[in-house]
Each structure stands twice: as C-alpha cells, then as structure tokens.
C-alpha cells in the first residue's frame, strides 16, 4: 500500500527563522511539466526591509569572526549539503525538468564551490592586501574588509548552483547577504536555507527572499542600509534603474551576467564586496 507524502511548506528565511511573507501572499511554483509543486512565499517590501535589518545585525559578528572560523563554517555548509544530495537532486529534477545526471552535476558543482570559497576565507586578505613601502618612517599596510550588507539578485535560470555561486563569495570576507532567489526555481534556495539554519552560519548572515525580483529588487537597491548590490541575475529586469537607485547611497554594484558561467568562481567576486583599508603608523625608537 502506497504511503501518502507529507509536502513541505516553503517559507522565507530571515534572521535565522522561517517566516511566511508578512503580506500573506504566495505564488504557485510549477514543475517543468506544468504540474503544481508548492506555494512559495511572495515576499513584500516589508519582508525585504526585515531581511536588511537582520543582515545588518549580523554584520559585526560575522565580520568579526576569525577568517579561520568563517572558512570552517562555510566548509560545513558543503558537508551538510553533501549529506542531503539526494533531496536536492530530486528537487532540481522536478523543478527544472532536467535529467538525474544533470541535476546531480549541478549539486556536485554547488558543493564544490562552497569548498572552493571556504578555502579562500583565511587567504584572501593575504592575496588582496599588502605592506606598502612608503617614503618615510611609517608602518603601512593595506587589508581588505567586508563592505557590509550585500543584496543579491541571484541567477534566475538555476535552482541551486546560481544561488550558491552568487551568495558564497559575498560571505567569504564577512559580509551578510539578502538574496532574492530565482523566481521560477525558488525551492532549492529555501531548502538550502534549511541547510544554513542547521549549519553553523549565524542567524541573519544569509537571508532568502522568494517572489518577484522585479517587485523586491528596487526596495533593496534604494535601501540606505544596503552597502552593495549584485545584479548578476537581474538581466531581465530594468537593472539600469536599479543601478541608478543604488547610486543614491553610492552602493558598490555588480552588473548582470548571463550564460552558463554567470557568477563563475572568481577572486574578483570576493574583492567586489570588500573595501581596502590602509593603516599608517609612525615608527620611532622614542
């Protein structure tokens, strides 16, 4: 006798909790064949603002953690994801309508990217910073520091890999993130949030909004407490207006990318959300 399945309610992920949208709205997520999969939360302006508040509150703890610690926390995400491979493969197969092999490849790649970026956490500053030989009796050193709160419109044509590729590099240096998931494929992002919630990632470091990027992104682009805006997955939106909105508070902006290599692993993605701080100190025997 076949067993009746227990379907999951997909909600938002804000400040380490899984609330429904405060607006009470949901939208239907359909499988590739058009059949009903789930009602995902349709996030509102208020949800976006709540997510920014949670992200801001998380900045000092996450950026203040040692780089070694951040590396271990990011690596642990890969460990947990590995243990839940089957769940993600099945979810991707269903939502994207791809073969098991393709879904497996996507999950493998996502796990490997967490591992790659985890390894950068305690090395990036060595590569991006340096001592400066100034002409005078001064100790002078430049180091990269996290920018703060990064809002990301993740790649829209991928369930898991696009999300990981955009979110992981922003976390390496100690930023916290508000990510707008793929509108069509939002389920893996929320399942990943469950991984994050049960890993060692502090609450608020990653916040996930599902719904309409066209509706949510303008509120994030114009939010004065957001420091940087990654438009990697915003190519189909009016992203020029988003970049213009972001200029009001001089946010750091990454422009859209497309194709299979959107948000490909790169040191530049870590660097884009850091600020170089240069400290001078006098030298003296007295």
């Amino acid at each position: 006798m076949s067993r009746l399945a227990v379907p999951k309610t997909y909600k938002l992920y804000i400040g380490g909790a899984f609330p429904r949208s405060e607006s009470g709205r949901t939208y239907e997520v359909l499988a590739a064949d058009g059949s009903f999969l789930a009602n995902a939360a349709l996030a509102s302006r208020k949800d976006a603002r709540d997510a920014v508040v949670a992200a801001r509150a998380a900045v000092s703890g996450w950026s203040g953690a040692t780089a070694y610690n951040r590396g271990q926390v990011l690596y642990r995400i890969a460990e947990l994801l590995e243990g839940r491979r089957a769940q993600f493969v099945a979810e991707i197969e269903e939502t994207e309508g791809v073969t098991r092999a393709a879904a497996s490849a996507q999950v493998d790649e996502a796990i490997d990217r967490w591992v790659w970026y985890a390894g950068w956490a305690d090395k990036f500053a060595q590569v991006a910073g340096n001592a400066n030989p100034v002409a005078g009796p001064y100790f002078n050193i430049s180091v990269p520091e996290p920018t703060g709160v990064v809002a990301i419109v993740v790649p829209q044509d991928s369930s898991l890999l696009g999300f990981v590729s955009a979110v992981a590099p922003a976390l390496v240096a100690g930023n916290s993130v508000v990510a707008v998931a793929s509108e069509r494929f939002p389920l893996s992002a929320i399942s990943l949030a469950e991984v994050l919630a049960t890993s060692d990632v502090p609450k608020g470091v990653v916040n996930v909004l599902t719904g309409s990027p066209a509706e949510i992104a303008p509120w994030l682009a114009s939010h004065a407490d957001v420091n940087a805006l990654d438009l990697v997955g915003a190519g189909a939106l009016d992203w020029v207006s988003l970049e213009i909105d972001a200029a009001d508070t001089l946010k750091r902006v990454l422009r859209p990318e497309s194709g299979p290599d959107a948000a490909a692993p790169a040191l530049g993605r870590i660097a884009a959300f850091t600020e170089t701080k240069t400290v001078w100190h006098t030298k003296s025997l007295r």
Binding site: E109, R113, W116, V127, A128, N130, N132, P133, V134, A135, G136, Y138, N140, S142, T147, N227, A228, V232, G235, A236, D238, W239, V240, S241, E243, I244, A246, A247, D248, T249, L250, R252, V253, L254, R255, P256, E257, S258, G259, P260, D261, A262, A263, A264, P265, A266, L267, G268, R269, A271, A272, F273, E275, T276, K277, T278, V279, W280, H281, T282
Partner: protein
C-alpha cells in the same frame, strides 16, 4: 614687535613664464576652445592670471577622438617598458621644473608655497616615478597574467590639489596602457596647462594625454561621452552621485574619490605635543581644503580643556597671508563661492549652539580668506559635525570610552579617513579595525605616498588610488583562456567577475541592456 613678526619672504614669480591665454591641449597641441573663454584668478589678490579656453561638447568629442586614436595606433601597442620610460621622463621633468610648478600652484590655488613646494610637487614627481616602474610589470598587479588596459579614461579632478590630483589620475592610467582626457577644475587650470608643456618636452606621443578646461558642463560631457571606457572622479559626493547615475547601464568602469568628515580621535594617553601638531596638520593643512581632513576632533573628555587650550595657543602662532611668502602657514580660500560656503556653515554652527573661537590674525584686504576656527560644545547632530565644510574649521566633540569614540567616528555617511592618537599600540590596532574608513593614520595625519592606497568606504566613494590597488583600477583581467595559472581580480568594485582556478568556467557574456543600449553601440575599436 613679537617673535612672530618676520620680514616678508616672498618666493619670486620671475621663474614663471606664463602666457596671457591658454588653449585646450588636444592631440599634442594647444588649440582654441569653442566655448566662451574664462579667466583664472589668484584667490589671494583676485587678479587675473590668464585667460583659459572653455571646451564645449565638440571640443570634448575632439579630445576623446584624439585619445582613442592614440590608444589604437600608439599607446596600446607600445611595450610596457617604453610606456614606463615616458613616465620616468615626465617624473624627471616635473622635478626639473618643480619650483616653477610650485609657484604657479600657489598663485592659482592660494595654498602656501611651503606646501606646494614641499608636499604637492614632490608627490607629483613621486607618483609618476612610482607608476613608471609598474608599466612593464602589470602581470604582478593582482589581476593575473596579461591584464588589459581599459581604453580611454575620462578624468575629472578638483581644485584643492590641482597638480597632485592630475598625477594621481594620469600616472596609473598611462602605466596601465590607457589614454587620457583630463579636465582640471575651473578655478585651478594653470598647472595642468604647464604640465601639458612638460608632456611636449617629454615627447609623449600626441593624443595620449589630452587636457581640456572648462566648468561642470564640460566635465559632465566628458564623463557621459560614449567613447569613454573609464571614469575617474575626485570631488564632492553630490557630483559623484550624479556621475554614478550617469554611467549606470554602460560598460564604463568607475572610481570615485568623494567627500569626507574624518574623525581624529585623541585618547588621554596620547603623545600630546605630537597630537596637537597632528590635529593642526589634520584640519588646517591646505586651508582645510582636503577631502580626508580631520574635521571632527574627538577628544577624551578628561583632556578636552587642555587640548583645546593648547590648540588655541598653537593656532595663534599660525601666519595667514600671501601664499607665495615662505613663512605663510594659512593661504587663501580657493574661491569666493567656497568662502561663502565656509561662512554659511560656520554661522549655522553658532546658530546651533556651538561656541566659535577664531584665531587672531589680520585678514588681507583683497582676496578670499578665513581665519583658523574652532568650534567647541558641538553636538553630533549639528551640521558642522555632519557636513563637509572643506575649510579651516574644526569641530570638537568629546568621548569617554573607546567604544563611544568608535561609535561617534563611524556615525557619518562618509568613510574616507580617520586618525587615532594614543601611546597604546594594542588600542590603535583594535580601534583601527573598528573604524569604517579607507585610510587610518595612527599618531600621524594627512600622510600621502604613491605606494599607499587611498580611497573611501560608504559615501566617500569606491576604488582606490595609489599603490598596486590604484593600478588595478585601470586594468581588467585577461579574457578567459588568455591568462595563466595565477588569476584573480582585485580591481574596482564595478568590475565584472572573472574566471579563476576553480570549477567550471567556459565563456561568459554580458546580458544585453534594456533602455540604454544605444549609448554603448558605437564604440568601434574598444578593447
């Protein structure tokens, strides 16, 4: 007669051989501008120095076209070694003509000759010398092997360090292989035009550097020009914001060095003699016309009275007057407009309840002057604690604990610089970690060096100038598949991601832009 009364010791103007009028420097030649010429005056006397050409949109077109030709035909094809040699030549010519440049700078800008002679011009030479050596070593700039120049750089600079800002912009741009169209500030074009003569002496190929003079509309036309690949701007946050909007939706890379409201934090164990000198240097250097000026003094409460008394006594010895006099400490305010802004904000300080103290000094009859001023009893909410005054005006606030000092220092949308004064090394490093600012000076202030990256957090802009980081702002990583093993982009914030030694990459493409597509379709030979 007090010990402070010295005989006048003016630097001679005879070293200058100025023309009555200057044209635009386009494609290696001085040409007439098509806009209405304007005069540049000495802010110390209000006398005309020379007439200056005014570039209109057609002139901007011509300058950008010249830069593009020079990029395509000459500069992008030249070896890094030869580009470096041109930059070394320029550095040497600046040193040879250093006194002339210093006199011209003080005349046109109003800053004391001892600053233009001992700070501005030596740093200009140092900047070219430093970046000259980078030109054939770009593989080590931090972007992987074979990084690419960007093309034509549009550079708009302010009036506070006219020639130094020119060097900060031109030296890394040329070292990286870009060509340049630079617009000096309307009130301080003189040294840029003498610099153009130096480029002729250096036999720099025509069109590699073009210098066009004019006002804000000339700058806007240059920044918005579709033939430009890179925009570098130093100036106010307001204009920087407008530029960020103007370039949105284009492929232009941007670096912005904008305003500041730096906190200079003095703990009660600070080396007090050095701290007093550092506070004075921090806010009264260059009449306070410094984006990274230490305009907010945060002093620990128990030493507030002592520090303020000693500051007043020190400021009473500063000599205000003729910028060309070698004994002058405080020169002229650069323009009437700036003087009025300083006056207006100071009056607001009084109206908001702060106590104003002004150093006793004679103000010359002509020209624009503002005596060194201290405000005490300043509230964090006061406009003189929040807004950039860009003049010789210091706002004094107090704190009790390090945590309070950090909170107050960071309580600003700006984040360019900060100072820390204490004898305790561990406290310096801990406080420096917590300050959200791009340059931190510990037991010193307002130090600059071509090897040291400079630039802001938050609304003080993005990108760095100086050092290896400053070079990266004029480069992009090699296209995928054309770089070697060591990769990684450490450039400005607006770079697109590049590939790395990581899983996956193959080919990438930018999404076609909605709306503004037309703007970027006619770039022809770009990249």
């Amino acid at each position: 007669m007090s010990f402070l009364d010295y005989a006048p010791a003016p630097e001679s103007r005879a070293i200058l051989s100025l023309r009555d009028s200057y044209g635009l420097f386009i494609d290696g030649e001085f040409v007439d501008g098509r806009g209405e010429p304007f005069q540049t005056i000495s802010p110390a006397t209000e006398e005309r120095i020379a007439m200056i050409a005014n570039a209109n949109a057609a002139d901007v077109d011509a300058a950008v076209a010249a830069a593009r030709r020079a990029y395509d035909r000459t500069w992008s094809k030249m070896s890094g070694r030869d580009r470096g040699k041109y930059l070394f030549r320029i550095a040497r010519l600046v040193q040879e003509r250093a006194r002339e440049l210093a006199v011209a700078e003080s005349l046109d800008n109003g800053k004391p000759i001892k600053e233009s002679r001992d700070v501005d011009v030596p740093l200009v030479a140092a900047w070219f010398f430093y970046y000259a050596g980078w030109a054939d070593k770009l593989d080590h700039a931090g972007l992987g092997a074979n990084p690419r120049s960007l093309g034509v750089a549009a550079q708009v600079i302010p009036w506070n360090f006219p020639l130094l800002m020119l060097a900060w912009k031109i030296a890394p741009a040329l070292a990286a292989g870009n060509t340049v169209v630079l617009k000096p500030a309307e009130t301080t074009p003189l040294t840029a035009l003498i610099f153009a003569e130096i480029l002729q002496q250096a036999e720099l190929p025509a069109g590699v550097v073009n210098i066009i003079t004019g006002a804000g509309d000339t700058g806007a036309a240059l920044v918005g020009h579709e033939g430009v690949d890179k925009v570098a701007f130093t100036g106010s946050t307001g204009v920087g914001r407008a530029i960020a909007k103007q370039v949105a939706g284009t492929d232009k890379k941007v670096t912005l060095e904008l305003g500041g409201k730096a906190a200079n934090i003095v703990f009660d164990d600070a080396p007090i003699d050095q701290a007093i000198e550092g506070i004075v240097n921090g806010i009264f250097f260059n009449q306070g016309h410094v984006c990274c000026a230490g305009s907010r003094l945060l002093v620990q409460e128990n030493i507030h009275d002592e520090v303020v008394d000693r500051l007043k006594s020190r400021l009473s010895t500063l000599r205000l007057g003729d910028p060309l006099d070698k004994n002058t400490d405080i020169g002229a305010i650069n323009s009437r407009e700036q003087l009025e802004r300083i006056r207006a904000l100071s009056d607001i300080g009084v109206a908001e309840g702060a106590e104003r103290w002004t150093a006793p000094c004679d103000i010359p009859e002509n020209g624009f002057w503002y005596a060194p001023t201290i405000f005490t009893g300043v509230q964090t909410s006061s406009r003189i604690a929040r807004e950039e005054i860009f003049g010789p005006v210091l706002s004094v606030l107090t704190f009790r604990t390090p945590a309070e000092a950090i909170a107050k220092a960071n309580n600003t949308p700006y984040g360019l610089s900060a100072g820390i004064w204490t004898d305790k090394g561990s406290r310096i490093l801990a406080v420096a970690d917590q300050l959200r600012a791009g340059v931190i000076w510990a037991n010193t202030f307002n130090r600059f060096d071509p090897a040291s990256p400079f630039g802001g957090y938050k609304e003080s802009g993005y990108g760095r100038e100086g050092g290896r980081h400053g070079l990266g702002a004029y480069l992009s990583p090699a296209p995928i598949g054309q770089s070697s093993a060591s990769r990684g982009a450490l450039g400005a914030a607006s770079t697109a991601a590049i590939e790395a030694d990581a899983p996956a990459p193959a080919k990438r493409s930018r999404v076609a832009k909605p709306a503004r597509t037309a703007k970027t379709t006619t770039k022809g030979s770009k990249r």
